[in-house]
């Protein structure tokens, strides 16, 4: 009997506080697996955001720093500039990265900081109880868009990957989803690549992961995956927006 799948050493044994079926757990696992497979657990330093994944510092089995809301890329910059031989990554939600932390992520990309960012886009502020995010879809009801998000007053949802791909320093930008086993596997490949790029010293790499928030979307976890497919994945197309080669030839 060969073990096909078992818990990665990249995560600690602490049980997560995530709601049932929240795909933050899957994404954590992928990051943990990638770190284990690349053999970089001993030299990795993760930066946790403020958001549901704030407690990520208890879950990743490597050194961790808990950043202020939105500032993870700045914190990661501070670490990586001092320890260029370590592996530094941020794990951030959409409120964290696409709202309050916009300047920090844009300028980490601008400087082409040699870090890896995992951007978990669940189109809502999970931790604080389901307020609207810049990535919330039109018509989506949240506690601060109780009549459904309205483009006239709040604009069209921002597409961070598309935007960041325009920043000259962004080496690798890819959007994935964790809605199905196949896509989970693809997501892992993208995450792995994003870490490899750092290991090769090639600069800033970000993977946007479309994720669910069953609790604040107000649906059960399985339905949430369907909603992700039918709505998020339509507005936010999966794919690579920027890759190393492209940058080389630019």
């Amino acid at each position: 009997m060969a073990v096909v799948f078992q818990k990665t050493k990249g995560l600690t044994d602490v049980e997560t506080h995530y709601c049932p079926g929240c795909t933050h757990g899957i994404i954590h696992r992928l990051v943990g697996e990638v770190m284990e497979e690349l053999g970089i657990l001993g030299k990795s330093i993760g930066v946790a955001p403020v958001g549901c994944s704030v407690l990520a510092y208890n879950y990743f089995n490597c050194d961790m720093s808990e950043a202020a809301h939105g500032r993870a890329p700045a914190v990661a910059t501070g670490i990586k500039r001092i320890l260029p031989d370590n592996v530094v990554f941020t794990y951030q939600g959409d409120g964290d990265l696409a709202s309050i932390g916009t300047a920090e992520i844009v300028h980490a990309a601008h400087r082409s900081e040699n870090i890896t960012t995992i951007f978990v886009n669940n189109a809502i502020y999970g931790m604080t109880g389901g307020q609207m995010a810049p990535t919330t879809l039109i018509g989506q009801r949240t506690t601060t868009s109780p009549y459904g998000r309205d483009a006239a007053t709040t604009g069209m949802p921002i597409k961070m990957s598309e935007m960041l791909a325009q920043v000259p320093g962004a080496t690798f930008v890819e959007r994935v989803a964790v809605n199905s086993p196949a896509n989970v596997r693809k997501a892992k490949r993208a995450i792995k690549k994003a870490f490899e790029i750092q290991l090769e010293g090639k600069g800033f790499a970000i993977v946007e992961v479309l994720s669910t928030c069953p609790t604040n979307w107000g649906m059960n976890p399985v339905k949430a995956l369907r909603w992700l497919e039918d709505n998020l994945m339509v507005y936010y197309p999966l794919g690579n927006f920027r890759d190393y080669q492209e940058v080389e030839n630019a």
Partner: protein, 71 residues
């Protein structure tokens, strides 16, 4: 078909049902009878013999409940 074995650490399960929804052979189900120490109905393997060891369930489990082995 390959033969697989899945093991569920049921105490870790949050009863989300994601594993059940992706098992190609439909051998998983939520155990409505049991309540684990977390207070959830855990997922369980109804028909272990038909597991093909594809690890789809493990791939989707957010809570590291599942181990998959294959001959």
């Amino acid at each position: 078909m390959a033969k697989g074995t899945v093991t569920f650490k049921q105490d870790l399960c949050k009863g989300c049902g994601l594993c059940v929804s992706v098992c190609p052979t439909n051998i998983l189900a939520m155990d409505d009878k049991a309540i684990n120490r977390k207070g959830y109905h855990p997922a369980t393997v109804v028909d272990p013999d038909n597991c093909i060891g594809c690890a789809n369930c493990a791939m989707m489990c957010p809570d590291l409940v599942i181990t998959v082995e294959r001959n």
